[in-house]
């Protein structure tokens, strides 16, 4: 490509309170490019993007947009220069409409009054340009799904005439078919001349949509290269500085499985119907399906958070009425929720206090608590300055370990995981997977809800696929993605996997097949 760079970041350096987070990082981007930015947690990806977006000022280095050196002291200045950023946790006002959100702070006015009609018409036009039909400019943002809210953010960026769009882990909360739609959107934006900076942990997406990729490690630039010139495992190797071989622990064989520990028969409630599920000691049963299929609802129902109103649940052969989380806990269940910040942790409290919360609510084990917490911290390889450090200072992976420690302290017989490695970098993911397999081996029954097909297929001994609140079918571990999706989507052909729009030369673009995050070469 011989176009002059739309964006150039040179020698960006940034430190916080003496701790250097970015050191001499360079990055260039041309118009009509999707440029992925990858790296482990703490590598500096978010910080670099925040410097670009005007949320931070660099200590050294410069940012050039269209050849002109710019200095942004506030995100609004960056916006004026054509840079827009979509954060992982969106910047939206849930009580306001789509149009009001898109034009917040820039509402078109006529005679001093807001020109509502123009606002809504402009929004409608942008929505149509993006091919979005499932909601209108008047819809209340709080009523929209996560995927739809993401589109609102994109519309917002488009309305700002952004030429450079930064997306921070855009598919983190999306199910596969929504992620697919988003990637199509990203391609459309690129084809329209935008430069899209795409921060992601997900190799399949990087390889599906990006043209070039920049790898950061420990605040330094490792390399920028064309996606066609590398493979997922090579990229991961550059990210973590070591080869990760076989990132999922091996599955259990039949002889290792014990008695049935969890048995649901005919379970149903407002969101679910006719659920039959059996999980044995030593087994990891994966729960797959599309967003809204009822996976989280299933986990919550089993645990007692949104109880079953029909059917029975048996734990270790004894029928139990699980009408509240307390019931679930006393029956020996543990539930690691989807969103650790919203539902798993009291962020201002210490690691110790969070880890002991389960014991404290069930009034168990008054002696030896401190020793237990230390033991759990060690066995989960928890990294924190001290056990009395506030949990909000920990990285995502370590926070998840604190949540796990809390449940392990209760020694449950059945563990329910909902998106166990969401928002966690590759290295920590592997650690959590190891822990889960170890727990299964020690005789626990593990249920794992996951939207990440490689994880689902790699970790599960059996996969139960949900669709519209019912069990659509069951697959053995190691099934193909197509099989999972077929069951999840029913017979809808629209949701087959996408192909990258451009040719890649000799190497066929790897599909997001099993193990393609790390490992098998194509």
């Amino acid at each position: 490509m011989t176009e002059a760079p739309l964006l150039e970041m040179r020698g960006i350096t940034k430190a916080f309170l003496g701790s250097v987070v970015l050191s001499e990082v360079d990055l260039t981007c041309v118009a009509g490019e999707v440029h992925a930015v990858v790296g482990e947690n703490g590598a500096g990806k978010s910080t670099l993007m925040k410097v670009l977006a005007g949320a931070y000022q660099p200590d050294a280095g410069e940012v050039l947009v269209e050849g002109e050196a710019r200095s942004f002291h506030h995100p609004v200045q960056a916006q004026a220069a054509g840079v827009a950023i979509i954060y992982q946790e969106f910047n939206l006002l849930p009580e306001r409409s789509v149009a009001e959100n898109v034009f917040v702070g820039r509402e078109p006015a006529r005679l001093g009054l807001v020109d509502r009609r123009r606002m809504e018409a402009d929004t409608a036009r942008l929505l149509a340009e993006l091919g979005e039909r499932s909601f209108s400019p008047r819809s209340r943002v709080g009523d929209l799904s996560v995927a739809q809210q993401q589109v609102v953010e994109v519309v917002k960026a488009r309305s700002l005439d952004a030429r450079i769009l930064v997306m921070d882990e855009p598919t983190a909360s999306l199910a596969d078919e929504e992620a697919s739609a988003l990637l199509d959107l990203v391609r459309r934006l690129r084809d329209g001349g935008m430069a899209v900076l795409y921060i992601s942990h997900r190799m399949p997406e990087v390889f599906a949509v990006a043209d070039r990729v920049t790898v950061l490690k420990d605040g330094r630039l490792v390399e920028t290269l064309a996606v066609a010139d590398t493979t997922p495992s090579q990229l991961v190797a550059k990210m973590v500085g070591r080869e990760l071989d076989g990132y999922v622990p091996p599955r259990a064989t039949d002889t290792e499985l014990g008695d049935v520990r969890l048995a649901v028969r005919g379970g149903g409630n407002r969101a679910l119907d006719g659920i039959d599920l059996e999980v044995r000691a030593g087994e990891i049963v994966g729960i797959g399906g599309l967003q809204g299929a009822g996976r989280t609802e299933l986990a919550r129902a089993v645990f007692g958070a949104d109880p079953f109103t029909r059917g029975t649940v048996e734990i270790d052969g004894i029928e139990r009425r699980l009408g509240s989380p307390r019931d679930g806990i006393s029956a020996g269940l543990g539930f690691i929720t989807e969103d650790r910040k919203e539902e798993g942790l009291a962020l201002s409290q210490s690691v110790r206090d969070n880890a002991l919360l389960g014991l404290r609510s069930t009034r168990r084990r008054h002696n030896g608590r401190d020793a237990l917490v230390e033991e759990l911290a060690t066995s989960t390889e928890l990294r924190a300055k001290s056990l009395d450090q506030e949990v909000r200072f920990l990285s995502g992976g370590n926070q998840q370990k604190v949540v796990l420690a809390k449940w392990l302290a209760l020694d449950p017989g059945v563990l329910l995981f909902d998106e166990p490695t969401r928002g966690i970098d590759v290295g920590a993911k592997a650690a959590i997977h190891d822990l889960m397999r170890g727990l299964a081996r020690s005789g626990k029954a593990v249920v794992m809800v996951s939207s990440e097909l490689p994880e689902l297929i790699g970790m599960s001994d059996r996969i139960v696929v949900m669709r519209e609140g019912r069990v659509a079918g069951e697959l053995p571990g190691g099934a193909t993605e197509q099989e999972v999706i077929a069951l999840a989507a029913g017979s809808d052909p629209v949701l087959a996997h996408d192909e990258p729009a451009r040719e890649r030369g000799a190497q066929p673009a790897p599909r997001s097949g099993a193990g393609s995050e790390v490992g098998d070469e194509t």
Partner: protein
């Protein structure tokens, strides 16, 4: 009541008003009195004006995510400033109004600055202001003072048939503020900042200005209430604000009217309806000759019960939402592109 769905734009407080009127009428009639008399209606409307004006102002403060506990003392002080400036002279009517409103603006400005620049929680900031005003009042006034002009005095009592002229002040203020909130950019920004301040700031809104403006508006409304009360009383009094409990009552009216205490959601017309509900209740209790002290207690019960009903509604609505089928990503086109 559960299955009955209102058109989206109508706040539940309005049907509640209807119910209260109906029940009030029935109870009073059974008791042997008559409810829908001209004098009664006047009474109800008259009662709503004072609380109504300050409650409209409080609505804006709460919408932006803040709160104002200083209104009661400001009302008292305003009544005194107004009455003393007027000193019975017609020529001083306009200056008195100007000065009083300026006082309100000044107090609101300080409140707003303390909340935004000093980052003090609104509860504490306005409580502090309340104490400062209380101190000033106690130090300088121990009994009614000043005298309003004749025109102004008559303003408080003139009626057009059963309708007191002062009600137009209330309605006027409500209409203007409601209009500003719904149609101007500043109004939009109030909802944005109240909904999520960091998000608004990142979108380029000068959130501090919005919050300060809201506080100024709230305090000006309180000053206006003080002016009005001076017209009813003929002079200013140091206790009129606290005796009326305008601080907590205005907040209660705002919440009763459906505005969320956390900000970002609510309407002025809801507050108006809530004020009317409270006025009707008051009137009905009077008619039934309920002990005035008991009235106070009953007011408390009503407020709690009403908000409990709201909470139930929200809960039911949310449950219905989650059981709805997932929103599809392909569907009929809803909007025809321009």
């Amino acid at each position: 009541m559960k299955r009955f769905k209102l058109p989206v734009n109508v706040l539940p407080i309005w049907p509640a008003l209807g119910i209260v009127l109906a029940v009030g009428w029935i109870t009073v009639t059974i008791d042997g009195g008559s409810f829908f008399t001209s004098s009664n209606m006047t009474n109800i409307l008259q009662r709503s004006v004072a609380l109504g004006i300050v409650a409209v102002g409080q609505t804006v403060a709460i919408l932006v995510g803040s709160l104002d506990l200083s209104v009661a003392y400001l009302i008292s002080l305003s009544s005194l400033v107004a009455a003393e400036t007027m000193d019975g002279k017609e020529s001083m009517l306009v200056p008195a109004i100007a000065l009083t409103l300026a006082l309100g603006a000044g107090v609101g400005l300080v409140n707003g600055l303390v909340v935004t620049k000093l980052r003090v929680n609104a509860f504490i900031a306005t409580l502090g202001m309340a104490l400062v005003l209380k101190g000033y009042l106690a130090d300088n006034y121990s009994r009614p003072s000043g005298e309003v002009s004749e025109t102004w005095k008559s303003f408080g009592y003139t009626r057009m048939g059963p309708v007191p002229v002062s009600i137009f002040l209330f309605v006027g203020v409500a209409l203007v503020v409601g209009f500003v909130l719904r149609r101007t950019r500043w109004g939009y920004h109030v909802y944005a900042v109240g909904g999520d301040e960091p998000v608004s700031a990142l979108s380029g809104l000068r959130t501090h200005r919005v919050v300060i403006g809201a506080h100024v508006l709230c305090s000006v409304a309180a000053a206006l209430t003080g002016l009005f009360l001076a017209s009813r009383l003929g002079s200013g009094t140091p206790r009129v604000g606290t005796d009326g409990g305008y601080d907590l009552e205005s907040i209660a009216a705002v919440v009763l009217g459906g505005t969320a205490l956390v900000g970002g959601k609510g309407r002025v017309n809801g507050t108006v309806a809530a004020v009317l509900v409270l006025a009707v209740l008051d009137n009905v209790f009077n008619q039934l000759e309920v002990d005035p002290f008991l009235k106070q207690a009953l007011r408390g019960v009503v407020i709690i019960a009403a908000v409990a009903l709201y909470a139930r509604r929200r809960l039911v609505a949310r449950e219905e939402e989650t059981s709805a089928p997932p929103v599809e990503t392909t569907g009929p086109t809803e909007v025809v592109p321009a």
